[in-house]
């Protein structure tokens, strides 16, 4: 079953400190007023320009096995390969904050407003991630409310291009989910348009299925390592 997601833009506005951290400004650093003003302006602009859209689609383990196999270019051992057969529920997702933000970023660069362009770009990236977090929370709550999973269940997202799942996996994901219906398209080089878009799979199940050691060969190349905090949050 596919479901179009409705977003309240307020839920997608990132906290200023997160935007500044992504701009390389560490927490606790003294922030000049001109930079705080830039961050505020970027957040305002984002709120004006954001056109969020999202889509999720339930699927079975066997359906996802076919999608995950993609073009046969995944790493042999990956967290997704280990976890998805054990998941109680799976859903593909795709979401975007829309094209107008990207267009404004380009215009700002063209008019030498480099700092604001960069700040808006960071804001949009943070917001796209928030859309993912909001969606997985909403999906998990729906499952718990419907009694389909236990309230002690956890959910984690994985996207093609990360964690050993080759980016070409986007192709079969798009064929199944059809995010073109909400304005997200895929190029021949597996790039999503609008650029500020994310896609992947959400895997739901008890904590023990989600835990893995961050010792895969490709983990070294990962800048984010956001999985560490999420696995720690699941407790022992």
């Amino acid at each position: 079953m596919k479901k179009i997601l409705e977003f309240d833009i307020e839920d997608l506005i990132p906290a200023p400190e997160n935007v500044l951290r992504s701009q390389g400004i560490p927490p606790g650093a003294e922030i000049p007023e001109k930079i705080s003003e830039l961050a505020d302006l970027a957040l305002e602009l984002f709120a004006e320009l954001c056109e969020p859209a999202g889509l999720i689609g339930d699927l079975s383990v066997s359906q996802f096995r076919e999608i995950y196999s993609g073009e046969g270019r995944n790493e042999i051992l990956t967290p997704v390969a280990k976890i998805f057969p054990l998941a109680d529920h799976l859903a593909l997702f795709a979401m975007t904050v829309g094209e107008p933000v990207g267009e404004r970023i380009a215009e700002l660069f063209d008019t030498n407003e480099f700092a604001l362009a960069s700040m808006l770009d960071t804001t949009a990236s943070e917001a796209t991630e928030l859309a993912g977090i909001y969606s997985e929370q909403a999906y998990l709550e729906d499952l718990i409310t419907a009694g389909d999973v236990s309230p002690e269940s956890f959910i984690m997202r994985y996207s093609p291009g990360y964690c050993g799942w080759h980016i070409s996996g986007q192709r079969k994901l798009f064929e199944y989910l059809e995010p073109e219906n909400i304005g997200i398209s895929l190029t021949n080089s597996y790039m999503m348009r609008p650029l500020k878009s994310i896609s992947g799979v959400m895997l739901v199940g008890p904590a023990n299925i989600h835990k893995f050691d961050i010792t895969y060969p490709f983990c070294d190349q990962c800048i984010d390592k956001g999985c560490r905090a999420r696995i720690r949050a699941m407790g022992n």
């Binding site: 380009a106 700092a115 790039m191």
Partner: protein
Amino acid sequence: MDLLKNIADSLQRGDDKKTAELTSRAIDESLSPKTILDDGLIAGMTVIGRKFKAHEIFLPDVLLAAKAMYAGLDLLKPLLLKEKVPTVGKVVIGTVQGDMHDIGKNLVGIMLKGAGFEIIDLGHNVPPEKFIDTALESEASVIGMSALLTTTMPNMKKVIDILKERGLNDKIKTIIGGAPVSDDFAAEIGADAYAFDGINSIDKIKKLLGLD
């Protein structure tokens, strides 16, 4: 000279209007355009680069300073062209074919221009031959390529292979960058250098051209 120091200082504060005003005053006072550029604008951006590397300032500070640099440079450019003042070097930049991510490439272009390079920005989704044809036409000595997708990174190798086939790899150096790119990948495909950000690209290109 105080006026040049004031230009450098206003640039470092990110005050584009003041930088333009002072640059205009320097021109009116018949300071040579090259002196204003080197000892005012580039001097200011050099301090910015040093402070950024030392983590004393952050990306927004650098970009505000770059805007101020551009404000001054816009006034100087016609004079520099008229006097045929050479730039530090010419660099062709672009995001490779199949890829439309250009923020990182834009930031590199901004920083290099701030360091006195002439930048020919081809934009995104640039075919391999276009990098080379443009470098030859403009007599650029460096091609800088950006990629944010693992599927488009191979197009960097295509450019390098074509340069080698045409015997141009000594004449035109290559530098690559982007989130999935690394030193190891640069070595693997025969790129002359890899840069992890805009400030780093200045150091790497100067080294490639023997300007360090």
